[in-house]
Amino acid sequence: MKTTDGVADVGEHVVSDRKGLGELYERSVPAAVRLAYLLTGDQAIAEDLAQDAFVRVAGKLVHLRRRDAFDDYLRRTVINLSKNHFRRRAIERAYLTRFRVVDRSASHDKGVVERQAMLAALQVLPHRQRSAIVLRFYEDLPEDAVAEILRCRPATVRSLVFRGVQTLRSEIGRTTDA
């Protein structure tokens, strides 16, 4: 989703051209899955969210005129769907419990442990902090772009990132020290 190359192909003709839609899918969905994976920590859920987001956004293809609009829409839709997903707090709590069990036994490799600790720590963050961290540091978006997606001010993004990083620090420290 970082690249917008080829988005000029997005348009009305793509709707009637199944091959074009398929190419758009192949180009954009893997990146959407990776974004959703960081937000949810679960690949199966991430694939569902990314696929659902693609269906929703592609359904509006003919209305998109800006070159990079499709990727922006897809990114925002993934964020919103992941938020809806985690509103079901019981599911979230059950998932976190499962995730942490897998995390401890997964590997002793330092790099793997760090990555898993990061994923686990991300899931501890409130949704908006998590989204701000992922959009800012993984998608590498500027603060104003993150603010637009999260519908807040850039100063709020700075605050969300600051608090998120603080929590990540303590959570990751706790996990890797264990």
Binding site: G22, V29, Y37, H63, R66, A69, R115, L168
Partner: protein, 342 residues
């Protein structure tokens, strides 16, 4: 994390994302679903165009016709509720999916709100409170590329909102309730990045946020069909979300920022500032009779509750957990959003 740096976070996130195994998605199925949706979308647009040609649906530019844009009703959501502040009863209230910043008209017959247009930009819409007659009032590129934070004038004839201008900054813009913008619709001249307008009780002033809270005198002309303003004046060095009391003379607002923000009040000349609610409270909204102020209290980024402040007694009362304030329908009924974090 080896070092407490953003670089480490970037690296770990990139590595974690790369752990995603070969994406085994049902591509064909997704493409078929997307195509069906797109075709339906195009078909609806074509039908609308045919209807226009047949004269049964008139889609016209608001500024040219003094009419607003009728839309095909979007899907609705029940993520909003009406709460009776007397008995605490709650009933769902359906609005279009994605609607936010909802504001009942003074007569309670219609409601305006912000939602995405086809390109994802904020625009202002209106509808009858029964969900009928959904119309887009602001047209991107006419006075602003995006429109947000609408506020009714007390007589219901005008709507002020925060629009994104050519400079990329926000300005307070006024339009009639049907979407017509008069020639001098941009009111907040000389003020940078103007947000969250609020009308005075008699409609002769508008308060808004721009490096503090400012007030400008609204002047009507052309028999009341047009509006302009005097240069705004600063009344408070800091503060957001101003809300003018219905009986005039007092402005409630959010003072401070972050974990120190709280609902406060001041006289409308900026004097006698006093906090009226504890920290992490914001968005005060007056009941139409001016007896109550509804406001949010946040206990975390996602946990919010609606509280009431009774002006006469200074008493605070929890109204509803898991909800945030939107708009008073009347003196007894408050519309709230029940979407966490909104």
């Amino acid at each position: 994390m080896p070092n407490d740096t953003y670089t480490d976070i970037r690296r770990l996130l990139a590595e974690a994302a790369s752990d995603v195994r070969g994406v085994a998605l049902e591509g064909d199925r997704a493409v078929r679903r997307a195509r069906r949706r797109a075709i339906v979308s195009v078909s609806v647009a074509c039908l609308a165009a045919l209807a226009v040609a047949a004269g049964s649906l008139q889609i016209v530019r608001a500024s040219e016709s003094n009419e607003s844009i009728p839309l095909i009703a979007p899907p609705v959501t029940t993520a909003h509720s009406l709460v009776n502040v007397t008995d605490g009863s709650v009933s769902p209230f359906e609005v279009p999916d994605g609607a936010r910043w909802l504001r009942f008209s003074p007569d309670g017959a219609s409601i305006i709100f912000v939602d995405d247009d086809a390109e994802g930009r904020d625009q202002i819409f209106s509808m009858r409170t029964d969900g009928s007659e959904v119309k887009q009032l602001t047209i991107p590129g006419e006075w602003a590329s995006a429109a947000d934070e609408p506020a009714w004038s007390p007589d219901g004839d005008w709507i002020a909102y925060s629009g994104v201008t050519d400079s990329g900054r926000h300005a307070i813009v006024a339009m009639q309730s049907n979407g017509y913008h008069p020639p001098r619709a941009q009111l907040s001249w000389g003020a940078s990045d103007a947000r969250t307008p609020s009308w005075s009780a008699d409609g002769s002033y508008v308060a808004f946020v721009s490096d503090g809270i400012r007030v400008m005198h609204a002047r009507y002309y052309a028999g009341g069909d047009s509006i302009t303003s005097d240069r705004p004046g600063l009344i408070l060095d800091a503060g957001t979300s101003p809300a003018w009391s219905p009986d005039g003379g007092v402005i409630a607002f959010t003072s401070g920022a972050g974990s120190e923000r709280r609902v406060a009040m001041a006289n409308d000349d900026g004097s006698d500032v006093r906090d009226i609610a504890p920290a992490t409270s914001d968005r005060p909204i007056w009941s139409p009779d001016g007896h109550l102020i509804a406001y949010n209290v946040w206990t975390s980024d996602e946990d919010v509750a609606v509280w009431l402040y009774e002006r006469a007694t200074g008493r605070h009362e929890l109204l509803l957990n898991g909800a945030s304030v939107e708009s008073w329908e009347n003196d007894e009924t408050l519309l709230v959003s029940t979407q966490a974090g909104n």
